[in-house]
């Protein structure tokens, strides 16, 4: 079954046409990288998948739920679809460990001992077990983002959305975060939709690359044909040559 299906999706902010006739299917377990210039609608598109932004028309099916339907319970979708933000959005009033354990406890009603065990394993996995008792304000950007990923994973989601996860980080922190993301992409059946300009990541673990501009999907290629061949779309070619030069 497909994890995410967009059928003729349109999204407006007032008069601004943010998403134009989006048609896109992402299969379970795929890692899809979404690129494009700023203002192209990448973030809007990714935010519609867990209902942080609502679509105006068309059909959007995530994990079998129709998001355009009024009666659809967004919280059910969000249990299975995690999200990692550009600015982390860690809970400032909670310790690192509590950041990870809170939602599993109150949303999934996970047993406390098991919850803690899972949380500590995840902290180990992202290399930050020693930060369990710290508050988010005491962490660097790279550490915060790894905690945010651990928080998402603690819900045992089927899919994680990454909205420019490395854009707010200092260069030396980026690799730590990308390595965690690569691990997730490699060793699980997790579906990943990643908005990023990190082409190394796309090349290494991506399955598909999607190029957006002006709210439209202009290119939807397998990784091989996108990088080794050439994008057929002129704007995508220009964009690619620019980001690869830098």
């Amino acid at each position: 079954m497909s994890m995410i299906e967009f059928h003729n999706v349109e999204k407006y902010y007032g008069d601004f046409h943010a998403l134009h006739n989006i048609n896109l299917t992402i299969e379970a377990g795929e890692t899809v990288v979404l690129i494009g210039p700023s203002g192209s609608g990448k973030s809007t598109l990714i935010r519609t998948v867990n209902g942080l932004e609502l679509i105006n028309s068309g059909q959007l099916i995530v994990d079998g739920f129709d998001l355009a339907h009024r009666k659809t319970d967004m919280n059910k979708i969000r249990k299975n679809v995690g999200m990692v933000f550009q600015h982390f959005n860690l809970y400032q009033n909670k310790t690192v460990l509590e950041n990870i354990m809170l939602a599993p406890r109150i949303v999934l009603k996970r047993d406390e001992a098991e919850n803690k065990k899972i949380a500590m394993e995840l902290l180990d996995k992202v290399g930050l077990a020693d930060k369990a008792a710290n508050y988010p304000a005491q962490l660097s950007g790279g550490q915060s983002q790894r905690i945010a990923i651990a928080r998402s994973l603690a819900m045992r989601p089927k899919c994680i959305l990454f909205d420019e996860p490395t854009s707010a980080l200092d260069p030396e922190m980026i690799d730590d975060v990308l390595n965690v993301m690569k691990d997730i992409a490699r060793d699980s059946s997790m579906t990943m939709l990643v908005v990023t300009h990190e082409m190394g990541f796309a090349r290494e673990v991506g399955d598909r690359v999607i190029f957006m501009a002006d709210g439209r999907i202009l290119e939807d290629d397998s990784k091989e044909s996108f990088f080794d061949g050439q994008p057929t779309n002129e704007r995508a070619r220009q964009f690619l040559s620019k980001i690869i030069k830098h």
Binding site: L52, R78, K79, F88, Y91, Q92, N93, I106, L108
Partner: protein
């Protein structure tokens, strides 16, 4: 001044007690009511937002004395008899809750919207996100302005004097008019108000420091 205290200490003590009781009751209920209306102002439901807006705009823009008189004079004409203390305390609670609602709302809105988004994306409901993440951060921000509201509340409880609520101000008026020693009577009353408000003021500062 000594004679005011020795001759009238029972009245003054009773007045202090009434003022304290009214303040504590009004503080407790206005904090709860105010917080609810603050939350109503930020919920997705438009109906609740409008209700909250109307409540707040009406009650913070009418003089406290008018609200109190409404409960003291108008309500007994049509419904039940209300004594001065009850009318004053209800009036003070409603009046203050409108200000507390505005204070708490501004606190909620100054919490980074990413906190709500992060919570919702993590699977929490709006209510859970409010309860565990947004409100604790909002209350921390609004402790100083809330302290101001609480101090104003204690001082505003002197509205009881107008409706025979037997509070400090009422006792002060009575003592002044029977002893003709107005200066000392109001001086003593002023000091007694300070005895309530100063510790409150220091406690709010202590809270503010402790949470940093």
């Amino acid at each position: 001044m000594i004679s005011i205290i020795t001759n009238h200490w029972q009245d003054l003590l009773y007045g202090l007690g009434q003022t304290l009781l009214c303040s504590i009751l009004a503080l407790f209920f206005s904090l709860i009511i105010g917080s609810f209306f603050a939350i109503f102002e930020v919920v997705p439901s438009k109906t609740l937002r409008i209700i909250a807006r109307i409540y707040i705009e009406i009650f913070r823009n009418i003089p406290l004395l008018v609200i109190t008189m409404f409960f003291y004079v108008v309500i007994p004409m049509f419904f039940v008899k209300v004594n001065g203390f009850t009318a004053g305390t209800i009036g003070l609670t409603i009046y203050t809750s409108a200000f507390i609602a505005e204070t708490v709302r501004s606190g909620i809105q100054s919490v980074d919207p990413g906190q709500m988004e992060g919570s919702r994306a993590n699977g929490m409901t709006f209510t859970q996100a409010m309860r565990y993440i947004v409100l604790p951060q909002a209350f921390r921000i609004v402790i100083p302005p809330l302290g101001n509201q609480f101090i104003n509340l204690v001082k505003n409880s002197s509205v009881l004097a107008f409706v025979a609520g037997f509070d400090l101000m009422y006792q002060g008026n009575t003592i002044a008019s029977t002893s003709f020693d107005t200066l000392n009577a109001y001086f003593v009353v002023g000091v007694l108000y300070l005895i309530i408000t100063m510790p409150l003021s220091y406690y709010m500062r202590y809270l503010e420091k402790r949470l940093d």
